[in-house]
Assembly symmetry: C2
């Protein structure tokens, strides 16, 4: 009798189903489909010539090291170089405050593994990054959502939730926020809110996990100090990555925080993948110390600003007046809100029939709502495809509008 | 008041402590110390010139893809190429039977995450690979050890344990075995035992996880068909890796098994690290399809055979008659057994004082025994250093021998 794998799964594995995006991306394989769904950077932003030169250099000079196992915490010289860059914005730390992760997703996984036992509570934004919700769910985390407005997470509601949970005797492990150009909502937490979230975190004795992949991709306005840089009590864990300022293919990201937590994460990471590719780390290190990151960011910002503009003007041109959308000052994403009676999950097949794809909003909402929303990304498609994709999508939506 | 991170850890994270090897390797930083501890391949086995050429080619032709995110399951062409190689030894599978992992350690992590809820039982060999035990512990797995002899895991004791556990109403999720040149013990499971373990697994309805990193590093004797190739009921999960036949720095390994399990693992991997570096995957793919793997394995086997011989003859020359050791026909490791009254954990500091390092055996034993054993590796140090290291270690041991 063949083995029935279902009866062998762990409790948590049994509950983990294929994500909506995962299933969607399979439908998007057809080259006729214009995808406004994925969050892949534009390959035009990859500094290919520099990476080629660097890679050759690394393999010329350092192959015995570059192709070997390495330490779980990551290359000290890479961690130092990242620390120097972060310090320019007031994000201070020593070598023991930082660990290299295999992409930011591993950072999120380690956050889940470090803090969450089944039933433990984490506060997340409504909506929030789908793959972070998945990582926290995969450890049995119970996610409590706090809505956002144009200034980010609503601090009045956050405090209310924390009081309610405290009164019920529930311990909250951390508050998860994507402080800049949030995925999916595109909004940025204001300085006042950043100060307030720290005050609240201290009052209720809870960690803040600040996920910050898009900070440097700001199209307009002044940078706002990170929550990590504003907090002085070692209770912020900050996640950063090379994926959006260099390229995602290397899978090099970092976690900055409390030395004790970083040490625990290193122990857990060792059981997870031993170490991150040292070849990738050496390439990221050489690029970091060349001092070209700022320059590359500038050229990336130019590319993405044009694409954001293309999407916003296409939305104005092709979407019905019943639709509203965020107008992000940076990052990769726009969230569109449609009338209550439209379910973007149901509408998805019609969009695919018109050869355009997006991500339905519901999976981003820890409270199971958001059916009327959708995430559109302007990072990967060309400006022409953005215009054409929005046009097609506008047509699909207009068919659903009731008069 | 500063945050007290200890009170925030998950139940499982609280229990995860730095491994013995981790702490040991810190002591081994001193270049005076000859380390017989680590399991790093000899860099002389890395085909550096080929990797250089391949990497340049990949970045010349395919940079937009190589530096991008990729699918969680891994590149189809790499998976196909691996399947073709595996099929030569009767390890058959289709594309849905294989997933790329970020090193074999991620394979072990995914095995733990897929199958083990806290308290679930896995059977392991006594001794077994430390980092596998850690991965299983990190999900709360309860590990039941079965001793080995020179033919591998003792099938009579395995069956006995399974009967006992069944009688207690306990479900066993899988049997974990390193079938070839076991880490740390160096022994290989005989063909008769392989057939028997399949029979037992079927009888008791339990998965077998066959970890097989060293299979191709056979110094003498004929290859034995893998458990995966002998089993016809989809209940073997097989782990393989490029780390020992190409280089570990790419972090490219694979998991071969039951399509349902592989699909579940892909869902879990997505929450863990989204995808494995596509640059690394493309390098591994190009190398795989060049057809040079067999040739590289041959030259690696030559190198490691000489080193194994150097270690065995040094042991014969320098170790006291009270010590016994395995004489592995492949792989990286020798296990030495000393008289009962010697605790290799306690003796470790004396060895470091003599500038030689090894790994004390106890952490490899799921039953907490093995204090009188130690793991020695001949993979990384030069033949001269193997001889000198064993000489120093012999001196340390002789001081502890009671007359």
């Amino acid at each position: 009798m063949p083995i029935n794998s279902g009866e062998f799964y762990s409790d948590l594995a049994s509950k983990m189903e294929a994500s909506a995006i995962r299933e969607i991306l399979k439908l998007v394989q057809n080259p006729e489909v214009i995808s406004l769904a994925g969050g892949m950077p534009d390959p035009a932003t990859f500094p290919v010539e520099d990476i080629k030169k660097i890679t050759q250099k690394v393999l010329d000079i350092n192959s015995a090291r570059a192709l070997q196992y390495s330490s779980t915490e990551g290359l000290p010289e890479l961690r130092k170089c990242i620390l120097e860059h972060l310090a320019k914005d007031g994000n201070n730390g020593e070598l023991e405050n930082i660990i290299i992760s295999s992409g930011s997703q591993q950072g999120l996984d380690l956050v889940g593994k470090t803090f969450l036992s089944p039933g433990d509570i984490a506060i997340v934004e409504l909506p929030s990054y789908l793959a972070a919700l998945n990582a926290f769910h995969s450890y049995g985390g119970v996610l409590v959502g706090v809505p956002m407005d144009e200034d980010g997470m609503r601090m009045d509601i956050l405090e209310e939730k924390l009081i309610q949970l405290k009164n019920k005797g529930k311990k909250v492990k951390f508050i998860y926020t994507i402080s800049n150009f949030q995925n999916p909502a595109g909004v940025t937490m204001s300085l006042a809110r950043r100060k307030k979230i720290i005050e609240i975190a201290h009052k209720f004795n809870v960690f803040i996990v600040e996920d910050n992949p898009y900070e440097k991709l700001r199209f307009e306005g002044d940078p706002i100090p990170s929550i990590y840089s504003l907090e002085k009590n070692d209770s912020v864990i900050s996640l950063g990555t090379f994926s959006k300022i260099l390229c995602p293919g290397l899978r090099i990201a970092w976690i900055l925080g409390n030395k004790e937590v970083i040490r625990k994460m290193a122990i857990l990471k060792q059981a997870t993948d031993l170490c991150t590719s040292i070849l990738s780390q050496l390439i990221a290190y050489e690029y970091c110390q060349m001092g070209k990151i700022e320059e590359n960011i500038k050229s990336n910002v130019k590319i993405y600003t044009r694409k954001r503009d293309a999407m916003i003007s296409a939305l104005e041109k092709h979407f019905p007046k019943e639709a509203t959308w965020t107008n992000p000052k940076g990052g990769f994403f726009v969230v569109v809100t449609l009338p209550e009676y439209i379910d973007t999950g149901e509408m998805f097949k019609e969009a695919i029939a018109e050869n355009v794809a997006y991500v339905p909003g519901a999976p981003f909402f820890a409270d199971g709502k958001g059916q009327k929303t959708m995430r559109l990304s302007f990072c990967y498609p060309s400006e022409e495809n953005i215009e054409e994709g929005i046009k097609r999508l506008g047509k699909v939506i207009k068919k659903r509008i009731k008069n």
